[in-house]
């Protein structure tokens, strides 16, 4: 199971329709595939290529540039600990060592039970709350060793399933443009004149 599901194909077509060029939907569709399977499979890349009019090699060429896309299974929970300056000043290196010890894996490694993958991350834009980490892109701020312990315990016991979805899901809510409200994509070749509201008059 790694081509996009029927439901995802419908959604993929809706997303593609928002862009003047289908290829612009490539990154959103890669996220969709990762949400479906937990990582990006070869079949999914072939399928995305078919949907946006690119070869699977082109899809891989784009996908491989971006760190969030994984091409083999990772843990259910991806734990990214920030190591950039503000976090380094506030003890992120100690936190990383502690996390390696707690989970029994090195940075980049996955626990044997497939629950956790540990990664060193760069700036997560939460610098006043250092040191910080993200679990599947959900923040934890000013993390102490004790905080890390309870986080891992809570995740292991399934106590945070409402807050933190399994790896692959980033945003749990997507955009929906109602059919009767949307303008639709504006492809460059279909437009030669100025927008109608540039008529020198007030619109209201």
């Amino acid at each position: 199971m790694s081509r996009l599901s029927e439901g995802n194909i419908r959604l993929a077509k809706e997303i593609i329709g928002r862009y003047p060029r289908p290829r612009s939907a490539m990154i959103p569709l890669l996220h969709m595939a990762q949400q479906q399977d937990g990582y990006i499979t070869n079949d999914a890349m072939v399928h995305i290529g078919e949907l946006v009019g690119s070869t699977s090699a082109e899809v891989y060429g784009t996908a491989s540039f971006y760190e969030m896309f994984k091409f083999e299974p990772v843990g259910k929970y991806l734990v990214n600990i920030c190591g950039t300056l503000s976090c380094a000043l506030m003890g992120s290196e100690e936190l990383m060592h502690y996390a390696e010890h707690k989970l029994g894996v090195k940075m980049g490694g996955t626990t044997d039970d497939g629950m956790f993958t540990l990664e060193h991350a760069e700036c997560q834009a939460a610098c006043t709350e250092a040191p910080c980490l993200q679990v599947n892109y959900r923040y934890r701020f000013r993390v102490t060793a004790a905080d890390f312990d309870s986080l891992i315990d809570d995740l292991s016991a399934g106590r945070l399933v409402d807050e933190i979805p399994a790896h692959g899901t980033v945003a749990r809510v997507g955009q929906h443009i109602p059919r009767d409200r949307g303008v639709g994509a504006i492809p460059p070749e279909s437009v030669t004149e100025a927008p109608v509201w540039l008529d020198g008059k007030a619109a209201l």
Partner: protein
């Protein structure tokens, strides 16, 4: 326009002007209900009540400086598109990833409608036919808040066809990244939005205003820059330039991290507030932790050359900070006290840029 809206968002809240963070005090600041209860979408109404070129002139007169790093005035940037070439696009840069910086994330999480309203005003003023709002891939909450806000604003008639019953129609498309620092650079952002690897293009020939998304004239504006526009449309350029200085009007958001007592994101007065005010005053960071001595600070994001205590009395004004050898950049201040191993600190930043 000054004074037209008695409750225009946050002209002065407390003793400091708040232009973009006036709703942050509300728990539900991100909802359409709260936004409308605090004069939300009144700036759009004010804009649509005037011809587009007048709205553009108002933004030009206000000298709204770009908040992404380069500090180029938004009104001037909009004017760089070639005459008569359409369609033109708006790309919103919400890929905030410069070390130490995080104001755009808060603006997206806590007041997404303000950003949406800013996008609509920009599209109206500069004749931009479609807007793509690019949010950094790792910002799950910002993506969710903006998605809900877009859905609510579409349903309420603020986005899409015939906005507020006028002939102004524009879509705002939510787009998001997948992790890559360099994509914050505007030509790399466009590459990524076209479905490519996010590598910067050569400038020239690829100045986005002339040759951007799909080869068309494209305005790339930072989140905070656009978030200023609703207030500006409600209150006018005169009220905007009355805050700050002639060369740096209005306010700006800064994130102070590292060894201060109260790290945080603050809205300060452009050109007036000094680094000393920000680091030591009670209403801001309240001093260095444990009352230690200040050793060094980064004044404007990870790429900016560092300052020492000698430069504390400089105000947040681009040319003065530039003359002193650094830059204001993206509004990130990282503070290091006397206990800091400076070479080790420099190494973490170097590792980031190698990354």
């Amino acid at each position: 326009m000054t004074g037209t809206y008695a409750h225009a968002p946050g002209f002065i809240v407390g003793d400091r002007p708040k232009i973009v963070t006036s709703r942050f005090e509300y728990e539900d600041s991100y909802t359409l209900t709260r936004y409308l209860a605090t004069d939300g979408y009144q700036g759009l109404r004010a804009a649509l009540s005037r011809p587009a070129n007048e709205v553009h002139d108002e933004v030009r007169t206000a000298t709204v400086l770009g908040r992404g790093g380069a500090g180029f005035p938004a009104g001037t940037k909009w004017g760089l598109t070639p005459q008569g070439v359409y369609p033109r696009y708006l790309v919103v840069n919400g890929d905030e990833s410069e070390p130490g910086t995080y104001k755009d994330r808060l603006l997206m999480e806590r007041d997404p409608h303000q950003l949406i309203e800013g996008c609509l005003i920009a599209c109206y003023a500069a004749g931009l036919s479609q807007c793509f709002l690019y949010i950094r891939g790792e910002m799950a909450l910002a993506q969710e808040r903006v998605a809900v806000a877009l859905n609510d604003a579409y349903a309420a008639g603020y986005i899409g066809k015939n906005i507020l019953g006028t002939h102004f129609s524009v879509d705002i498309v939510l787009h998001w990244g997948a992790g890559a620092y360099v994509v914050g650079e505007e030509t790399a952002l466009i590459e990524s939005l076209e479905g490519n690897r996010g590598m910067p293009r050569l400038k020239p020939p690829f100045f986005p205003a002339a040759n951007g998304l799909y080869g068309q004239p494209t305005i790339v504006n930072n989140v905070e820059t656009l978030a200023n526009l609703p207030w500006l449309m409600c209150n006018g350029a005169e009220a905007y330039t009355a805050i700050g200085t002639k060369t740096s009007p209005g306010t700006r958001m800064v994130a102070v991290s590292g060894h201060v007592k109260r790290p945080g994101v603050y809205e300060i007065v452009n050109g007036v507030t000094t680094f000393r005010d920000l680091l030591y005053k009670e209403e801001f960071c309240g001093g260095i932790r444990n009352n230690n001595e200040l050793k060094a600070f980064v004044p404007g994001g990870g790429s900016a050359p560092w300052f020492t205590p000698d430069q504390l009395d400089l105000p947040f004004e681009g040319s003065q900070v530039g003359a002193a050898g650094s830059m204001l950049g993206s509004g990130a201040i990282m503070v290091m006290d006397e206990t800091t191993d400076i070479p080790a600190a420099a190494l973490t930043l170097t590792r980031f840029y190698a990354h």
